[in-house]
């Protein structure tokens, strides 16, 4: 069987898809970009103002001029402050809103996928898509795109302003910039490699830890502590070495970039001083250049970082859109038939079904169940009994043949009506976190009174009443605090409270104590009363009372009839029965 964790690459342009989510906020985004432009201009203007002041000093200007400059500086500061807050806030908000929308879209899509998809895809993968992968995109919408823009504008602005002020000095100042860009690029590359190594080592040590902690009992029982410690230490040393290399890379790179910035400063000061001495530029200009050349270093390094983040965001986006492109759906008919009421006649007509298009688990299965009839399916594991149950609720579509409910093909019925009419009970009862009554009611509009009635009717109230908080007793993750029998009874109450017309159930084989088993049997009889019931049965007592027994083997129905008929016929069933009675 194929597992969907390495999904096929998403076909189509991820970036275009991502930008399309920004569409409703176009105005806002452009407004922010505009603010960013102004802010960048401010950033460039601030050193200029101080430089101007220096020139005033040099010319022994009036204090009034200084105050003037200060006022301008103050204004730039104030507007910069306001614009910056506005811009950051608006963009972050947009990012969050897009995330919310995206999450909803993904969740809706996941909900609509068929059970086949869930059989093959680990839950963890899907959770990651909805949570972490979307989170990774936020970075892109609210930060990276704008900062990328801002840094590019800043670099272009700096280059332009410097060239405008003094072309020769500007060009000299730029000499080392390509080296910085190259070094940063090189560093990224090396850093990524070392980072990957530390990640692998860390994953290795975490995997080893989690394995050894959960297997500690076995390690101790077999007395293998020393050997496992050695293995762990080896992994730990590997991690240490990877961390050491990473630290070394950073320790070398940062000072290197620093010394480059010193070189650049020396270049500017050296050639700038020459120019000052030649009276080509003022001292203030020299100050401005010295400030500007140092403002170059940050945006260049940031750009590299931002491209890396952008890349990982795009990787997440690709995973998300691959999932969104998944179309293993059980699709609703465009004009679904809505029946006045579902009486409960079920017909399988030459049904062929395979979960994977290849290995048929049902082969040409046909039968009719009249409203109110109770049918038990009997057969070994893998005979196809459970598949029949899955098909009635249309959790999968059949490959060949038809399934009719009240003489309408179920593919034409509204899924909602169909599933509401079917009370499906699994062997493994799923309980949600919440309370007992919440688990009976689910999210539907069912009164507390009805919840209690349902629980009483199916004998569940006996154990519920004994709980400290009764119906409001909390249910923890997956109902771990309840026994298999109690869970079974709860699921009966849940099913009954939703008043289905058809009962579909997989009888539990779990170890249930005799007392509870009696309660369950009694509850079942009550539940089946007046309802079409299809069940996979394991207990002879349940089977005997069915109106019709279908014996399955290898995807086919071998025998059908009542208990007595089948006994008389002397086939498989009779043999089984005799074995049991010996």
């Amino acid at each position: 069987m194929k597992i969907h964790d390495t999904a096929p690459a998403y076909k189509g342009n991820v970036l275009v898809q991502l930008l399309s989510y920004m569409k409703p906020y176009t105005g806002r985004v452009f407004f922010c970009l505009f603010l960013v432009l102004i802010l960048t201009a401010f950033d460039l203007y601030r050193p200029k103002l101080i430089g101007d002041a220096i020139d005033h000093f040099e010319q022994r200007g009036e204090y009034r001029l200084i105050v003037n400059t200060a006022v301008k500086y103050g204004a730039v500061l104030l507007f910069g402050f306001v614009f910056n807050i506005t811009q950051t806030w608006l963009l972050q908000k947009t990012g969050q809103q897009i995330m919310h929308t995206l999450r909803k879209d993904i969740y809706r899509h996941i909900q609509s996928l068929s059970c086949r998809f869930f059989d093959l895809t680990p839950v963890g993968t899907l959770v990651t898509r909805v949570t972490n992968d979307v989170e990774a995109l936020n970075e892109m919408y609210s930060g990276i795109l704008v900062r990328l823009f801002r840094n590019i504008v800043k670099i272009i602005g700096l280059v332009a302003v410097m060239l405008f002020m003094n072309r020769k000095l500007a060009l000299i100042s730029f000499i080392l910039l390509p080296v910085v860009a190259f070094m940063t690029w090189l560093f990224r590359k090396i850093a990524r490699k070392t980072y990957r190594k530390t990640r692998t080592a860390l994953t290795g040590i975490n995997a080893s830890l989690s394995e050894n902690i959960s297997g500690m009992r076995i390690i101790q029982i077999f007395g293998r502590e020393e050997r496992k410690y050695e293995e762990f230490e080896e992994k730990n040393r590997k991690l240490y070495r990877a961390n050491y290399t990473e630290n070394l890379v950073f320790a070398i790179f940062r000072p290197l970039i620093y010394i480059l910035s010193v070189f650049s400063l020396m270049l500017v000061l050296g050639f700038g001083s020459l120019a000052v001495l030649d009276h080509v530029i003022s001292v203030g200009m020299l100050f401005i250049f010295a400030q500007y050349i140092q403002s170059f270093f940050d945006p260049i390094q940031e750009l590299a970082e931002q491209f890396a983040t952008l890349q990982s965001s795009l990787a997440s986006a690709e995973k998300i859109f691959t999932l969104m492109g998944e179309d293993s759906k059980v699709t609703e008919d465009e004009h679904p038939v809505i029946l006045k009421e579902i009486k409960g006649k079920i017909e399988f007509s030459h049904v062929w079904f395979a979960y994977d298009e290849e290995h048929y688990v049902l082969r040409d299965v046909s039968f009719v169940i009249e409203p109110g009839e109770k049918v038990a399916f009997v057969g070994a594991t893998g005979a196809g009994k459970s598949s029949i149950l899955n098909l009635i609720g249309r959790y999968y579509d059949v490959q060949k043949g038809n399934i009719y409910i009240d003489d309408v093909d179920i593919r034409r019925l509204s899924k909602k009506q169909l599933r509401s009419a079917i009370g499906q009970m699994q062997q493994d009862v799923f309980l949600f976190e919440g309370t007992i009554s919440g688990n009976i009611r689910l999210n539907d509009d069912i009164s507390q009174e009805e919840v209690k009635q349902a629980a009483e009717y199916v004998n569940a109230s006996q154990f519920i009443d004994k709980l400290p908080k009764g119906y409001e007793e909390p249910v923890t993750e997956r109902g771990a605090t309840f026994s298999a029998g109690e869970r079974q009874l709860l699921s009966f109450a849940r099913t009954l409270a939703h008043k289905p017309g058809i009962l579909v159930m997989d009888e539990a084989t779990a170890n249930i104590d005799t007392e509870t088993e009696l309660l369950i049997r009694e509850a079942l009889e009550k539940l089946m009363n007046g309802r079409t019931t299809i069940m996979v049965a394991h207990r002879l007592s349940t089977i005997r009372h069915a109106d019709c027994i279908m014996v399955m083997s290898k995807g086919k129905i071998r025998e059908k009839g009542t208990h007595e008929e089948l006994l008389e016929r002397g086939g498989i069933y009779q043999k089984l029965y005799q074995l049991q009675m010996q």
Binding site: F81, Y107, P255, M266, Q580
Partner: protein, 597 residues
């Protein structure tokens, strides 16, 4: 033995050379960093005063270069030494933590979830590492830098100007401190909202079949939307804080510069300070910003690390409950278990339990006997195995091996002479060969001839043929990145692992539940012939497994309710007979299917 409280000091002392060197280099860097603005200021002064020629300019440039080179070397050094030392501390702590965990008893692991223990090794250790590495640098740097820059500003430029410009900057430190506290609160809420979202999605997807069966999609989606919206709200709270904080920081620095401009400008014009000093002063303001931010940050880093360290130390405070008799290798060799077991009015309760799981149980198992144990879940079957393996201790005198109290035997002897096939079939992500040889004290690499016995054990456990079908045969790696074994294959591998030990006592705890009946039959036959003269305890749910046993004991709620041979128990018409009948039907269906194919 009195043990000192777990402390960080020994780790730090072990690397004191690294820390001292690092801090000295840091000091050198901090000292030199002041000179570049000063030299730039000198240059501008000289140029503005008109008394500078290219000669002087060159001299200043050389000074700048010298300082730059010193700083480069120093910056490399402190990172190398201090961060390097913190990595070493981390490495050593991790080893020590693991070693200590290995010594703790099963009850500790029952009450502490793997996820939580993992968090000690990841998040908490990380917090401690940050505090012993970067935070050391930051705190030292911040304090030294602030003092030095302030000194420079006062001495080299002007006292009054410094005082005025510094006032807004104090706000930065105070602001950062409170910002961090408030931010942490917001982050926590955000984290909680995020976990809630994760849990919700996890639960809904796991229960998707139930959701679909009860047509709950719409309502489930509504609930999801509400949680996602809440998540957005909590995110926005964090975002809002950040959106204000960054620009505010910028603004405060700007105000300092503005003050410097207004007051300093007046002073320049009045001739009280030079232009160059004014320029240097501007740079100094810039240099003060980050140490002040760092001050606020560090307080947080240290308080988090302290909490993390307390959690880690709590592991070390834990003591093992099982006290072992430590003996030398030679002595261990001389102690040999024969294999007769006696439960003598055994009553046992788990340390965290509220009522006994075994009640006044008396049972004799002769050496060489094969005993079957049957009972419902929770009847106390596995507890018997736990006691025999001394995972827990029971009352003195209630469990005897070869007539001696089980506590008389060193753990190493028990682990050597009692082989065990656990219920949960835990295999390590290692090669199958290593997994099967797990119970042997020798290593395959040291004794390659072991391979033969490994293969024999695998054949006896009916897993050999499966293994040979795997791409790398016995070298196939189990688990995550290797071949995933089916439940039955895992069970049979653990059986092979136990058989290979050829121990006087073998316990199989529900070890064949996932093995099909034919294979089970074969394994049982092998067991009977291999275990001749050696004691075997078979815990099972299936009668087919128990049929081969000499005697079967039925446990009900911790007491022995039935005991005898298969025939005796069937005649008894009790629980055993009842289960037998029930299982006949399943077996019949199985056989029917096989006949048809």
């Amino acid at each position: 033995m009195e043990q000192k409280a777990y402390s960080l000091t020994p780790y730090l002392l072990r690397h004191k050379g690294y820390y001292i060197t690092g801090i000295l280099l840091l000091l050198a860097v901090d000292l030199s960093s002041l000179y570049i603005p000063q030299f730039t200021g000198n240059l501008i002064d000289g140029l503005a005063g008109g008394n500078f020629g290219m000669e002087q300019v060159r001299l200043i440039l050389l000074k700048i270069l010298a300082v730059g080179l010193i700083m480069m070397a120093g910056r490399f050094g402190w990172r190398y030494f201090i961060v390097g030392a913190s990595r070493k501390v981390e490495y050593e702590m991790r080893n020590d933590m693991f070693r200590h965990l290995e010594s703790l008893s099963t009850s500790y692991f029952n009450t502490h979830k793997t996820g939580n223990l993992m968090a000690y090794f990841t998040n908490d250790l990380e917090a401690v590492r940050m505090a012993t590495g970067f935070a050391v640098i930051t705190v030292f740097d911040a304090v030294v830098m602030t003092l030095m820059v302030l000194g420079k500003m006062i001495l080299y430029v002007d006292m009054k100007l410094t005082a005025c410009a510094f006032i807004p900057l104090i706000l930065v430190a105070i602001g950062c401190y409170y910002f961090n506290i408030y931010m942490e609160k917001c982050q926590e809420q955000r984290q909680d909202a995020f976990s809630l979202l994760s849990d919700r999605v996890q639960e809904s997807i796991t229960g998707i079949r139930t959701v679909k069966a009860f047509v709950q999609e719409e309502k489930d989606f509504g609930e999801f939307e509400r949680i996602s919206a809440d998540n957005m709200k909590k995110n926005l709270a964090v975002v809002k804080l950040r959106a204000i904080f960054g620009p505010a920081l910028d603004a405060v620095t700007g105000i300092s510069i503005l003050i410097a401009l207004l007051i300093g400008g007046k002073m320049v014009l009045a001739g009280e300070i030079s232009i160059g000093k004014f320029v240097a002063f501007n740079s100094y303001i810039g240099m003060l910003v980050w140490p002040l931010i760092a001050c606020g940050d560090c307080i947080n880093t240290f308080s988090q690390a302290a909490a993390a360290f307390r959690r880690i130390a709590s592991i070390f405070e834990e003591k093992p409950d099982i006290i072992d008799k430590a003996l030398s290798e030679g002595e261990l060799k001389n102690i040999k278990i024969q294999g007769s077991i006696r439960f003598n009015h055994l009553t046992f309760q788990y340390p965290d339990g509220t009522e006994p799981v075994l009640c006044d149980l008396s049972l004799d198992i002769r050496q060489g006997e094969m005993l079957g144990i049957l009972g419902r879940t929770g009847s106390g079957k596995s507890s018997l195995a736990d006691l025999l393996l001394r995972i827990y201790d029971c009352k003195e005198g209630s469990l005897l091996i070869d007539g001696k109290n089980i506590t008389e035997y060193p753990l190493a002897v028990l682990h050597r002479d009692v082989a065990y096939v656990p219920q949960d079939n835990f295999l390590f992500s290692d090669t199958l060969e290593e997994n099967i040889a797990f119970g042997l004290s020798e290593r395959i690499t040291d004794r390659p001839e072991l391979r033969k016995s490994i293969r024999q054990a695998a054949k006896d456990a009916c897993i050999h043929d499966n293994i040979m079908e795997f791409p790398d045969e016995y070298m196939t790696v189990v688990g995550e990145r290797g071949v995933t074994l089916s439940g039955g294959q895992k069970q049979r591998s653990s059986i092979a692992r136990a058989l290979l030990m050829d121990a006087p006592i073998l316990i199989l705890d529900d070890a064949m539940s996932a093995v099909d009946t034919d294979t089970e039959e074969k394994i049982l036959e092998n067991l009977v012939s291999l275990r001749k003269g050696k004691t075997t305890i078979l815990i099972a749910h299936r009668i087919s497994t128990l049929r081969k046993a000499d005697h079967v004991a039925v446990l009900t709620d911790g007491t022995l309710t039935e005991y005898g041979t298969h025939e005796e128990l069937l005649a008894n018409k009790g629980f055993y007979a009842h289960i037998y009948e029930k299982q006949q039907l399943e077996k019949g269906l199985e056989e029917e299917q096989n006949e048809n194919s």
